[in-house]
């Protein structure tokens, strides 16, 4: 009789780490496992097993802690390998891992080459209509430049470091922000509407 599961579904797909490694020679040291959750990124993410330890039976047994093991892995997240080996214990029980066969390892871990599209974002944008009017009224009698009538954009500091760059003085940005709806990613959603 087939199993009939009741309850909410989850996004996990695969096995726990012990289910994968417990059957392998030398507990799979040197093998590569990957988490299904990380496959949503274009860059490869995977773990190389360096060391496996089992844990004593927990005092209060539950589904979450009964299947845990302690590992030392070489972690690669979104194509970037961490310089130090990382411990992995708390997430080892999740049924979301898959073992990469040896002949597919090289293909799976192939370095990802992102398209060279640097994002240069603008320094300033226009004011919201009411604020624009107020600022213009304030600057009416004082000498002002064109920059005074532009709102300086406040970017996330972390994102500025990692994801994009702010245009320098006189540099042309690759993207432009306006006060309105902007350029839609999916024009099909605005079908029949004059933007």
């Amino acid at each position: 009789m087939p199993y009939k599961y009741i309850g909410r579904t989850h996004d996990f797909k695969g096995k726990t780490l012990w289910e994968l490694l417990g059957n392998l020679k030398n507990f799979g040291v040197g093998r590569i496992v990957a988490r299904n959750r990380m496959e949503r990124y274009p860059e490869p993410s995977y773990f190389k097993i360096l060391k496996v330890e089992t844990l004593p039976q927990p005092e209060n047994e539950s589904i979450d802690n009964l299947r845990k093991i302690r590992l030392l892995v070489e972690k690669t997240f979104r194509g970037k390998t961490y310089p130090e080996p990382r411990p992995l214990e708390s997430a080892s029980y999740k049924t979301d891992y898959k073992l990469i066969p040896k002949d597919e390892e090289a293909d799976y871990c192939k370095a990802y080459k992102p398209q060279n599209t640097e994002r240069i974002l603008p320094r300033t944008m226009e004011f919201p209509p009411l604020l624009k009017e107020l600022v213009a009224r304030e600057l009416k009698n004082t000498p002002s430049t064109k920059d005074d009538l532009e709102l300086k954009i406040f970017y996330n500091r972390q994102s500025v470091k990692m994801k994009y760059r702010i245009a320098e003085e006189g540099e042309e940005p690759t993207e432009k922000f306006t006060m309105g709806l902007g350029k839609p990613v999916a024009p099909r959603l605005y079908k029949g509407i004059n933007l």
Binding site: P128, L151, K152, I153, F154, F177, G182, P184, V185
Partner: protein
């Protein structure tokens, strides 16, 4: 319990009904803002999942990828705009950013502001002075009237007390006519000895009083013998 609460919902009076009950003739037009606030029909936190819904599995939303990206873009834009405006206003109005201004100018503007404040304050003080004097005069008048009334009351009270004591003394004087004094004590003793009173008595089975300490009851046997 929930069902009971919901059954009482109809008892809430809507604004239009409330207006129809009111006695005033000029009724307000229908205004949704005047309607009573509708309570949510959610179950309270402590009530468990309904039995009919224990095995209900909500369907997970499937959003197409381009739509997800569009939603994220719109939200990113909104957040960036909001933060930029906030940052602009903070930089403009923050006192730290205004510290570089000329101190003499700041002092001048401060003095101007202070002069305006003084003017407003003086005006208020003048207005208040009139009101205060009027109020104080009224209060004084009221206090004097109260005090006068109190004095009158006190005088009346004293008079009444005097009359009451006078009456007491008069009654005592009247009563003191029959008192035994040094002069008439011998007569009183003689009189008491002459008219000795015996207050003792006994009660027989029939409830009849037998007066006197030494009086003896009539014997039953004697009564019978008398009849014979």
């Amino acid at each position: 319990m929930l069902r009971i609460i919901n059954n009482f919902n109809f008892l809430r009076i809507s604004a239009t009904e409330a207006i129809s009950y009111s006695t005033s003739s000029n009724t307000l037009p229908y205004n949704p803002a005047l309607l009573p606030v509708k309570k949510s029909h959610r179950k309270p936190r402590w009530v468990p999942i309904a039995k009919s819904k224990i095995f209900r599995i909500p369907k997970r939303p499937v959003i197409p990828e381009d739509e997800t990206r569009e939603i994220r873009r719109l939200f990113n834009d909104y957040r960036n705009h909001e933060k930029s405006v906030k940052n602009f206003l903070v930089e403009k109005h923050n006192t730290k950013n205004q510290a570089s201004l000329d101190p003499e100018e700041i002092l001048k503007s401060f003095k101007q502001d202070l002069a305006v404040c003084h003017e407003i304050n003086n005006k208020w003080n003048k207005e208040n002075k009139i009101l205060r004097e009027k109020r104080l005069a009224e209060e004084l008048e009221r206090d004097i009237a109260f005090a006068k009334n109190r004095i009158e009351q006190e005088i009346i009270k004293e008079q009444e007390l005097f009359e009451f004591t006078e009456e007491l003394v008069r009654k005592e004087k009247e009563a003191s006519v029959n008192f035994i004094t040094k002069e008439n004590i011998d007569d009183a003793i003689d009189k008491a000895l002459a008219e000795a009173v015996d207050y003792n008595f006994a009660i027989d089975l029939n409830g009849e009083k037998i007066i006197g300490r030494n009086t003896k009851p009539v014997q039953e046997q004697d009564k019978i013998s008398l009849k014979q």
